[in-house]
């Protein structure tokens, strides 16, 4: 239901995003994983049409048969909120501190749904219940600062799904939250996605979180998608060297409670650091940091599929291309 083709974003003549192909199926949950500077947030913004004016965008973002990149501001505004919902990272900053909760959620409803008066109030209560907030009747009169971080984020989610969108884009929605709260919010997102057959684009730097929530994943590095497909296949048998390295550097938690084997063992690292925009090498963007790089890597690797739902761009894949 969402198809990115040849999406290119440039600022000041520097190309920062170049995505040949990325698909999101209806009802599916796709994690877009990358570190800072990878372009994951920019990609989400490109889909939403929220890029700053100075950027040059080309290619197509097909949603419901329309190319979002070709739509004018007014048409985009209609789609945003009604058919695509957004949840951002820091709820404290996305909620208006001067407005009561009820009013903020009802604004989202009024903008996109055809309800008036009491029907709006009822819908607000219903939404707050759906995001599992206790005592919604009391909550509508409260201000954001009177709620905990987790509750604020639930309110954000309520506002985002108010118009029953087909797609929900969430950018690091749980990064600022405690781990127990995070689990609840993630479970909420999963259940909302399943109940409403709503697709989810989950942008994150955390592979562990993405594994919990998503069934598909796309790994982005230097503005390119380097590997994409079924989450279990990619996490268990990563092909692209960056994906493999990213997995290796993740501290994770020990299997079977074997904590004593964990302690004191050094973590694997990736040599060097992410280059600044415009300083990436030609061909495979990761080759300067890759231990397995060869001269071949100076040319961009083609898309290879190790299985129908696992594609990558690497000349020297980690599993030898075996699925």
């Amino acid at each position: 239901m969402l198809q990115l083709r040849n999406l290119r974003v440039a600022i000041d003549d520097q190309e920062i995003i170049n995505i040949a192909e990325l698909d999101l199926q209806p009802g599916s949950r796709l994690g877009l994983v990358g570190e800072s500077g990878s372009g994951k947030t920019m990609t989400a913004k490109a889909i939403a049409g929220l890029l700053p004016d100075e950027t040059k965008v080309s290619g197509s973002v097909m949603f419901g048969g329309q190319n979002l990149l070709e739509l004018g501001d007014r048409q985009l505004a209609k789609i945003r909120g009604k058919r695509i919902g957004f949840v951002f990272q820091d709820p404290a900053r996305s909620l208006n501190p001067m407005m009561r909760i009820g009013k903020q959620v009802s604004e989202a409803i009024r903008l996109h749904a055809d309800l008036k008066g009491d029907a709006v109030k009822a819908k607000v209560i219903e939404l707050l219940q759906q995001v599992q907030l206790p005592d919604p009747e009391a909550l509508v009169r409260r201000y954001p600062h009177q709620l905990s971080g987790g509750q604020q984020q639930r309110v954000m989610i309520a506002a985002a799904i108010a118009a029953d969108p087909e797609l929900l884009i969430a950018d690091e929605p749980t990064t600022a939250l405690d781990v127990t709260v995070q689990e609840e919010i993630l479970r909420l997102l999963i259940s909302l996605s399943e109940q409403r057959k709503m697709s989810l684009l989950f942008v994150s730097h955390d592979l562990g979180v993405v594994r919990f929530v998503c069934n598909q994943v796309a790994v982005i590095y230097g503005g390119n998608i380097v590997e994409a497909g079924d989450i279990d296949s990619i996490i268990n048998r990563p092909q692209h060297r960056y994906t493999a390295a990213l997995l290796a550097t993740n501290p994770g938690m020990p299997k079977d409670d074997n904590f004593s084997a964990f302690i004191g063992r050094r973590l694997q690292t990736i040599t060097g650091s992410v280059p600044a925009v415009g300083r990436f090498p030609s061909g495979c963007r990761f080759r300067n940091r890759c231990q397995h790089a060869s001269e071949k890597c100076a040319t961009t690797p083609p898309v290879t599929a190790s299985s129908p739902d696992h594609r990558y761009l690497c000349w020297h894949p980690a599993q030898g291309g075996q699925s």
């Binding site: 405690d178 781990v179 938690m253 964990f262 650091s273």
Partner: protein
């Protein structure tokens, strides 16, 4: 004066509240309540908890930056209040902190060189020469070029290394790290954690690390302290506490952490 069994830091029934907090008869208002724990020399201890648990406040009380209202805190067998004048400087020298956000922990108007010399100037009354600074900066894996730079010219990972170099420049006995890798990317986290492990071994440091991330703590720390709402919920060897938690809260934390983590062997 201290036997090998005297802990380096010892806390007994300590209570702390911030200056303008109102303490009610029900006990609320205290940021830290009834804290008792000890840190052995050269051990590595992880303090975990969620926001509001008081973990960051705890290390500041333990190293003497904040003064507690009740209970005792001892460093090297001596009560913190007994470190006066020159002793106060010595206490500061032996207790150093590494902060969470590398961009906030260095003065943006000072060059790296200047930031690095500050602790030595303040505590040892001398200005180190460039040779000493270069050794310091190389020890954390950076090159001498960074000395003339300003913080905004370095990346988060580089800045965090500078922060570590700065706190180690005075050869402390114990290093408190307040969420040292939370603000960094995963791959950079690994580099900085490895660095901390290496330095700890090289310099014989006692390391106390505050973190909300159980995965990081289970990698780095043989001992763990679990905190909640200003109390210590449980404490002990990491492998014991995490494989057989005696508290429901710890079990909840573990479950949530596992859910959002990758399983590694």
């Amino acid at each position: 004066m201290t036997s090998s069994t005297t802990p380096l830091v010892s806390v007994e029934q300590m209570f702390f509240h911030y200056p303008r907090a109102k303490i009610t008869s029900g006990g609320s208002g205290w940021t830290l309540q009834d804290i008792s724990l000890s840190i052995a020399l050269k051990s590595t201890v992880g303090i975990v908890g969620e926001s509001g648990s008081g973990k960051s406040t705890l290390i500041r009380v333990m190293c003497g930056l904040l003064r507690h209202q009740q209970g005792t805190v001892q460093f090297n067998g001596k009560d913190l209040s007994e470190y006066q004048d020159d002793g106060a400087n010595e206490l500061r020298r032996q207790n150093q902190i590494v902060f969470q956000n590398p961009r906030r922990s260095l003065d943006p108007r000072m060059t790296i060189r200047r930031s690095l010399t500050e602790p030595i100037r303040a505590l040892q009354n001398r200005t180190p020469d460039d040779d000493e600074l270069v050794t310091s900066i190389k020890r954390v894996g950076l090159g001498p070029e960074v000395l003339s730079r300003f913080p905004h010219q370095l990346s988060g990972g580089q800045l965090q290394r500078v922060g570590i170099a700065r706190s180690l420049s005075v050869n402390p006995t114990i290093l408190y790290a307040d969420e040292p890798v939370s603000a960094l990317d995963v791959s950079v986290q690994a580099q900085v954690l490895n660095l901390l492990m290496d330095l700890r071994d090289q310099m014989g440091l006692t390391l106390v690390m505050v973190s909300h991330d159980l995965g990081v703590v289970s990698r780095m720390c043989e001992h763990i302290v679990v905190m909640r709402h200003g109390h210590i919920v449980e404490a002990g060897r990491t492998s014991d506490v995490l494989s057989r938690p005696s508290s429901d809260y710890t079990a909840t934390l573990l479950k949530a952490a596992r859910a959002a983590s990758l399983e590694r062997s």
